[in-house]
Symmetry: C3
Subunit: 125 residues, 3 copies
């Protein structure tokens, strides 16, 4: 049940945005033991003045850069996190063709009782 928030600059075609969500989902499936269909993902597009990303500090980022923030349980190892980063960058390089530098990922970790899916309460506690 990771929650995924993707923040690009406004202007990416719909197909690119769909590919980004699909790529992150596949990467999470392959590296983070995420169940099939587990998608709680949103994209928020930003006007240029509402989106300020370091353009130059040793890395040549472009306007295509996406900020990805994933909230997940505190159960993954450092190796799993590294695999997620690598796999996500690889997938988004394939489709929609993002450069690795343009894939920024930040993980936020929470306790297992911090989720509710409505049907029941604290399903993972």
């Amino acid at each position: 049940m990771p929650v995924v928030r993707v923040s690009p600059r406004k202007g990416k075609p719909v197909g690119d945005r769909r590919a980004i969500l699909e790529g992150i989902y596949v990467a999470m499936r392959q590296t983070f033991d995420v169940p099939e269909y587990d998608q709680f993902m949103t994209i928020s597009e930003h006007e240029p003045e509402n989106f300020s990303v370091d353009p130059i500090s040793g890395i040549a980022r472009t306007d295509a850069v996406v900020l990805i923030q994933i909230t997940a349980n505190t159960t993954r190892s450092v190796a799993q996190k590294q695999a997620l980063y690598r796999r996500t960058a690889d997938r988004l390089a394939e489709d929609p063709g993002l450069m690795p530098h343009d894939v920024f990922i930040n993980l936020v970790e929470v306790a297992k009782e911090n989720w509710s899916f409505g049907e029941d309460v604290a399903q993972y506690a």
Copy 2:
């Protein structure tokens, strides 16, 4: 001072959105020891292609689903969290009439010195 971020698909009437914020606030008041008037809540509406939520894995979600992310202090027990989940689902079932499956809640917890209200600094440290 929980911060509440609500993410629905675009298209909910204003009255429904107001009811969702009010319902979450009341549920937090009743279960999370939140002071009166303590509201730091936003809604971000998403176009269909910017909103991807698991439609089927054992739970029949609808397009009315809302993702709720609440950032709060690390002071609540598991029982309090479960009470929050239950109370929020109950309130949003009453108004605006969301099905329990369509209320997804995720808590992010932070240290007590991680808040500033401008007037002074780290009010809870």
Copy 3:
């Protein structure tokens, strides 16, 4: 590499929004040991019905209030956090002229391996 999310009500002029991002960046540079050019910041503007902020509990907030959520490593002391709060409020008072009460800050802290900049993986692990 803090990630900064700023949520104001809709209607702030572009110049005010730029000043807010710049002010937060400068405050982080001065108090949080943030490298030059380290900017991963977004603004999400909200319609009035999508933005509910406590107007009155002992503090006279205005419609100019901004919610600032900063995700950063768990490496700063309480004193550093207090300095960040104070410096941010000071900067935003200078430009764009926000009252201290209208600067709400919340920090979310994560492990050092929770970041990827695409080029490599888990740069800080």
